[in-house]
């Protein structure tokens, strides 16, 4: 019988309530715990992240566990043999289709991923082993990898001085000489002289000493070049005429290198032994960068100084290349104010660069300076500021441990609820020495910054972990709250009862507000509720602790000497308004920074995040400093400061008043004007300023000179974005041009605009020429069209030379000025009396030229760009315009050159010489007869012929066991421009248009793979370098495939040996196991002895056994069924008996 469960009413209610409570608590628990999933991919396209379920991309794997415990996101090493890379990566991203192979081990545990010294023929460096093999494959170079070498210095030393020498090649009764290694010379079939320079007179090569110097790619020094263009020894002026120095490489013939001044020969005009580690490297001499003193005594190259000059960024010290230092010493941040951040600076290649350690002082710069005097050098880095670990520390060894992240403050015997401990030995804190036995509490040594302007608190988990023992832990509203505290107060009054206004009370006991006061001292409670005569020491002390916690507490960061008690307007004095006696409580208020509540028996001090002053008058102080403004710095300058353009190169700290609908006020900017230009204000009849007129002070009528770039600008009273037009427009958007030549609509306070315009005479001349063409050569319709176009555009031609430029600017609030600001000017209406300016050429200065062969005309075409229509000439010598022998064609046409309109002349340059620098001098004469008084020089570099030193395959037949056969086609080039760096192509027919480029080219070695069937092949090779030198060659070879296994053509017995002869070179093995017969793997067989011809194979004669023999050739061709069956021959010796 079922027993009914009967509940009375009370029990039912209890049950229902109980269920309700359970359900509620379940919900409470569920809502309280954050559920994070390891998502293979999130909806934000991030891989392997811990996210809530709503952010998971459910089309991929996910699970409610840490990523390290999942299969798809487990971390290992992704290896790519093709790329030569090893990367720590989650498994899911190591895609085999992209050539990735996943290894679950850590990167440093994988042999192929370990680093070592990779030696290639073009140098050595520390890389991973797999990268070394990839480099060798990609560069087509032989490599050697030494895993035991792990420093760059040791690795570089491995590169042997390589047995360089003079390689003499005789061609067509010419003896040409190059510096090569022995192997390279052999490939070129040259005559090699190890250690000799080509300029060694004994060799009779015709290569001589020269005064030319150059830099060499991959090396730091300045080198001499001989007259043949070969790189000789390091530039040393004192040995410029030394036959010995020009005869041998260092280490040969008693020639040793001199290191000059041993300090890198910075700007030394007489020595080229630059040293990168000492701050110098080879560079082409530039008077602006290197200075007059450094002008090389020979050639055009010098050891450039890579060190950094004194400046505010360098701390007004000269800094060495590679030196690093801090923007502020670490000690400064012991008393950091809101907005203070730490930068790491370093000198690299002559420039000072910087790196922000952290936006909120979670990382700070630490610097060490070693050496003395001129040898002193700083070394700095960003270190973590582990301030989180300081809170709640109650043991000295943890607080003042070796990592020095924390400091201590004495409790001063104030009552405190913070964790404290007693010092066992003396300690220094904030410059004060605390003796052993002092009770202290642990605080961060370098208080961190906060996002004090944000509402959402994020308290680092490390802080919460450390504070788990504190009662305050669960109630923290911010980091600052850690330094909140409570103390007891005890007042008594003469008589019991209420404490109305106007009565007095007395302090009693260990009362934090009364410390130092005697019991009998009176505290007056006046009729406005203010306390008088209280001792605020405890509150001040608490505020000090508060400010040392982080960006907390009440103080001003713009007042250099903040005094808590003197900061009026922010803090009030303590106010006491007692309202009742027993159980009564009083309230002590301050307006900002801290709030203290005094109750009967207790005073609460609450430490809150620091807040900046109201308003935004100081916002702009953040801009234009040595380092870009950050949001943290900007916000610290005022409550109304806003940070804009943060994710750009031009962040700004501004004060935006939302109610400000006034557009920027535009005024002319004096600093934008160049010398001899002035503004004159233009006013309306009612004296309202309309704009300015720009005048040229050197002309009588103030009109501007033609074709002379001039600039003018505007300044605004607030940030704006500005445009201009030549015509009046209805509104801002209609205006066509951005003021200041800016591409982006960034906001600024000032802008400068540059123009370069023709004069009246030039425009009229151009217009009249067009008019003449139209009327004289055009049809009636063309003339009509011309006239109608002219009617439209005549105003914009400015035939009278008068210009008006209208400007408008828009503020951040989108307010723009209705009335434009006007710039007015006129262009000169007179003959042009300024000389033309040669802006440039269509050749880059120091461009290489292809070698001119015998009988070839040595000339090239050139285009000269000038700023106005002119006639131009050139000469091989620097002389006056009239004396110059060669004229150019100048048609008065224009083109855009370097983003500016320019006129050009063209013509031919002749007299070019090979293997040397060719200087050409140009001068021009304007259409008004004004000539250049100085020449513009163009240097073009003659080169040597490009040479192909080897082509392979250099065998008659290429054989392979597969079809098609992979034939590597390889070429080596030499000389020409850049010592043989060239692009090579190949073609089977040699017909134009049929050439294909080598897969690996643009270097001195070139290679590509051909896949060919059996047959005879020939290829035409052509190579060319950047100077246009080219060289051709041919190669021919046969391709044979061998897909047949060797055949045993004879079997015989010789003495006690069984011998077989194969029809081709082979390796033979045998087995005697009858059960398996021929069904064994080749590797498991017993090897037969081979003779030197590799065709005769033998083993011991044994008539009792059967010999199951397999033979394979060099191409792995084996008998059919090889590996599991098939023999070349089965021999039964007993049949021979």
């Amino acid at each position: 019988m079922k027993k009914a469960i009967n509940l009375n009413f009370k029990q039912s209610i209890i049950l229902i309530l109980g269920i309700f409570v359970i359900i509620s608590s379940l919900n409470f628990i569920k809502a309280d715990q954050a559920e994070f999933y390891c998502a293979e991919k999130t909806i934000n396209n991030e891989w392997c992240q811990m996210v809530p379920i709503e952010e998971v991309d459910t089309s991929y794997s996910y699970s409610r566990t840490s990523c390290e415990f999942t299969e798809y996101c487990s971390i290992g090493t992704c290896i790519s043999v093709e790329s030569g890379s090893c990367q720590t990566s989650p498994k899911t991203l190591c895609n085999p289709e992209q050539g990735g192979y996943f290894n679950s081990s850590e990167i440093n545990q994988i042999e192929d991923c370990k680093k070592g010294c990779c030696i290639l023929s073009n140098g050595a460096r520390i890389v991973r082993k797999i990268q070394c093999t990839a480099l060798s494959r990609h560069l087509n170079l032989v490599y050697n990898f030494i895993p035991s070498i792990n420093t760059e210095a040791e690795c570089s030393a491995q590169v042997a001085s390589s047995n360089l020498g003079a390689c003499i090649i005789e061609t067509n009764s010419r003896r040409t000489c190059y510096h090569k290694t022995g192997g390279e010379c052999q490939s070129s079939q040259g005559e090699f002289h190890e250690g000799f320079l080509c300029s060694n007179p004994q060799l009779g090569t015709g290569c001589l000493m020269s005064n030319r110097t150059t830099c060499v790619s991959g090396k730091n020094e300045v080198y001499f070049m001989d007259s043949c263009g070969n790189i000789a020894n390091v530039y040393d002026f004192s040995r410029r005429a030394s036959t010995l120095y020009w005869s041998y490489f260092p280490g040969y013939g008693n020639v040793e290198l001199s290191t000059g001044d041993n300090l890198g020969n910075i700007r030394n005009p007489r020595h080229g032994y630059c040293d990168y580690t000492k701050g110098s490297t080879c560079a082409r001499y530039d008077v602006l960068k290197d200075g007059l003193q450094a002008k090389p005594a020979l050639g055009n190259y010098v050891c450039r100084n890579l060190n950094c000059r004194k400046s505010p960024l360098t701390g007004n010290l000269e800094r060495k290349h590679g030196e690093s230092w801090c923007s502020k010493p670490l000690e400064y941040f012991e008393n950091a104010k809101p907005g203070d951040v730490s930068y790491l600076l370093y000198c690299y290649n002559g420039e000072v660069k910087y790196e922000l350690c952290d936006h909120y002082r979670n990382s700070l710069c630490y610097e060490e300076r070693t050496g003395t005097g001129a040898n002193a050098i700083s070394s700095a880095g960003c270190i973590l500021n582990k301030w989180q670990e300081c809170f709640g520390q109650d043991e000295e060894r943890f607080c003042l441990g070796s990592d020095k992240k924390c400091s201590v403050v004495p409790t001063n015997e104030y009552p405190t609820n913070a964790n404290t401990f007693i010092l066992t030995e003396d300690a220094t804190s904030k410059g004060i020495t605390l003796s052993a036995g002092t009770e202290v509490q642990c605080i961060p040594k370098y208080p961190p910054g906060l996002k004090f302007w944000e509402a959402e608190p994020i308290i680092p988990s490390a802080v919460l972990d450390n504070l788990k023992n504190l009662e305050l832990n669960s109630e923290l509203s911010s980091i600052c709250d850690i330094s909140s505290d409570v103390c007891k107060v005890q007042y008594y009054r003469k008589s019991s009862g209420w404490l109305p206004w106007g009565t007095s009370v007395r302090c009693e006991g260990n009362n934090c507000l009364c410390i130092g006061l005697k019991d009998e001292d009176r505290i007056y409670n006046n009729d406005r509720g203010k306390q008088e005569n209280l001792n605020n020491d405890w509150v001040i002390y608490q505020n000090d602790i508060c400010t040392l916690t982080a960006d907390c507490g009440g103080y001003s960061n713009t007042n250099p000497n903040p005094n808590f008690l003197d900061i009026s307007g922010i803090f009030h004095f303590l106010e006491f308004a007692a309202s009742s006696g027993r159980g009564g409580w009083g309230k002590v208020m301050a307006r900002e920074g801290w709030w203290a509540r005094r109750a009967h028996g207790t005073v609460d001090f609450t430490c809150k995040p620091w807040q900046p002053i109201l308003g935004g008058e100081d916002c702009s102080k953040c801009n234009g400093q040595l380092f870009p403004c950050t949001e943290y710095q900007c916000r610290s300058l005022g409550k109304a400061c806003q940070f804009i353009q943060g994710d750009s190169d031009n962040p700004l700290c501004i004060y935006i008043d939302d109610e400000d609908v006034i557009p920027p006020i535009i005024n002319e900017r004096e600093e934008s004007l160049i010398e001899d230009y002035v503004y004159k204000e233009i006013h309306s009849p009612t004296s309202r300023k309309l704009g300015v007129e720009i005048e040229y002070t050197q002309s009588e009528d103030g009109c501007l000179p033609a074709f002379e770039p001039f600039s003018f600008g505007i300044e605004l009273d607030k940030l704006g974005y500005c445009k201009f037009d030549y015509e009046r427009t209805e509104d801002f958007d209609e205006m066509e041009f951005t003021f200041g030549n800016e591409d982006r609509n960034t906001f600024a306070l000032n802008y400068t605009q540059t123009f370069s315009l023709p004069g009246v005479k030039h425009v009229q001349e151009e217009y009249e020429s067009e008019e003449t063409d139209a009327y004289e050569y055009g049809s009636l319709e063309e003339i009509e069209e011309f006239e109608s176009i002219m009617e439209l555009i005549r105003p914009s031609l400015h035939l009278n030379g008068e210009y008006e430029v209208y400007v408008r600017c828009k503020s951040l609030n989108n307010a723009y000025n209705i009335e434009e600001f006007m710039f007015k000017f006129c262009m000169e209406d007179q003959d042009d009396i300024t000389p033309p300016i040669i802006r440039g050429f269509d050749w880059q200065n120091e461009s290489p030229l292809a070698f001119f062969g015998e009988g070839e005309t040595r000339k090239i075409n050139v285009k000269v760009y000038i700023n106005k229509p002119s006639q131009c000439k050139w000469s091989l010598e620097d002389k006056t315009y009239e004396s110059m022998e060669n004229s150019l064609n100048c048609q008065g046409e224009d083109e855009i050159f370097n983003n500016h309109l320019a006129y050009f002349c063209d013509g031919e340059l002749t007299g070019l010489e090979n293997n040397q620098e060719n200087d050409f001098y140009f001068r021009c004469n304007s259409s008004f007869g004004v000539m250049n008084s100085e020449s513009k020089r163009l240097t073009l570099i003659g080169t040597t012929p490009l040479d192909i030193t080897s082509i392979s395959p250099n065998v008659t037949t290429v054989k392979s066991g597969t079809s098609p056969v992979t034939v590597p086609l390889e070429v080596r080039t030499y000389a020409g421009y850049q010592n043989g760096v060239a692009t090579c192509q190949y073609s089977s027919s040699g017909n134009p248009g049929t050439y294909s480029t080598f897969s690996n080219t643009n270097s001195q070695q070139h290679s590509t793979n051909l896949y060919l069937e059996e047959g005879s092949y020939g290829y035409h090779i052509r190579c060319y370098d950047n100077a246009g030198n080219s060289k051709t060659g041919v190669v021919s070879f046969n391709v044979e495939t061998d897909t047949s296994p060797p055949i045993v053509i004879r079997v015989y017995r010789e003495a006690n040996n069984l011998k077989i002869i194969t029809n081709e070179e082979a390796t033979c093995v045998y087995s005697n196991v009858i059960n398996t017969g021929c069904m064994y793997n080749f590797e498991d067989g017993q090897t037969m002895t081979r003779t030197s011809s590799n065709k005769i194979h033998s083993t011991s004669w044994d008539y009792r056994k059967i010999f199951y023999i397999k033979c394979k050739d060099e191409f792995e061709n084996q008998p059919y069924g090889a590996g599991s069956g098939g023999c070349s021959i089965i021999i039964k010796p007993f049949e021979f008996e």
């Binding site: 891989w47 790329s83 720590t88 990566s89 248009g993 480029t997 690996n1000």
Partner: protein
């Protein structure tokens, strides 16, 4: 009289012929100078299919390489940080605080190669179609077999191989088995340096750019720390315009509040 008339007529005919001849000459001259004369066919790249394809695709290739280089290796990065109006892809990322980042594109070189291949594919088809049409218009018999586009990033160069087979027949037969476009660019080395940086970000949460620059002379590395803890790395090759930039977010300590 008839003879005179005949003679007169004959002279008249000659005159007319002379006038007509002069007019004809003038007409030809006029046509020539006004551009209606026979077209002068200048040698063009279309006579060389290799050059044609190279010229047709070179700009697109260059632009694509520049775009992926500035965006962290992807044409359209999926997860990026916007800096200077450019979306810069994350190569290493964590959304958490106090955690080291997770590599997002471990096979970076292969990824970039694929991105370039995909981006230029349409242009490749268009260029080959143009090439085919240009030959067909000159009465060539053209056979074009399309193939794979393969981009290979190698030291100092980027090779684009188009495995198209073009056969041209007009009298003789010319066959072109593949087309190669080499570009001078050291993206290879920029990628290697980037991967070194990422490895340091994964292991240490940060990288030492000064050491890396000394190990890689000829390159400058800039590290730009953003407010949310993202670092923008910009690797530039000196004396060229080659640049590669990417974003990373690793071991970010939140500002306490």
């Amino acid at each position: 009289m008839n003879k005179f008339i005949f003679l007169r007529n004959k002279r008249g005919q000659v005159t007319i012929f002379i006038i007509i001849a002069i007019l004809l000459i003038l007409a030809v001259l006029l046509l020539y100078f006004l551009g209606f004369g026979p077209e002068i066919i200048a040698p063009s790249d279309e006579t060389n299919p290799q050059m044609f394809i190279k010229n047709c695709l070179e700009d697109k290739l260059t632009d694509t390489i520049r775009a992926v280089s500035l965006r962290g290796g992807s044409v359209n990065p999926e997860r990026y940080f916007n800096y200077n109006d450019i979306p810069i892809g994350y190569l290493c990322y964590t959304n958490e605080y106090e955690q080291r980042c997770v590599e997002q594109i471990p096979l970076l070189r292969a990824h970039i190669q694929e991105e370039i291949e995909n981006e230029i594919q349409e242009d490749v088809i268009v260029c080959f179609n143009s090439l085919k049409e240009s030959y067909e218009s000159r009465n060539y018999e053209v056979q074009l077999n399309s193939g794979r586009t393969v981009v290979e990033i190698l030291p100092n160069r980027i090779i684009t191989r188009l495995n198209y087979v073009l056969t041209l027949k007009k009298g003789q037969t010319d066959r072109y088995d593949s087309f190669t476009i080499p570009l001078s660019n050291n993206l290879y080395e920029l990628i290697v340096i980037s991967q070194d940086i990422i490895e340091e970000e994964i292991l240490d949460g940060n990288s030492n750019v000064i050491s890396l620059m000394f190990l890689n002379q000829g390159f400058e590395i800039e590290k730009n720390l953003r407010d949310d803890g993202t670092k923008i790395y910009i690797i530039s090759e000196m004396d060229t315009e080659n640049k590669f930039q990417f974003a990373s977010r690793s071991l970010v300590i939140p500002p306490g509040y």
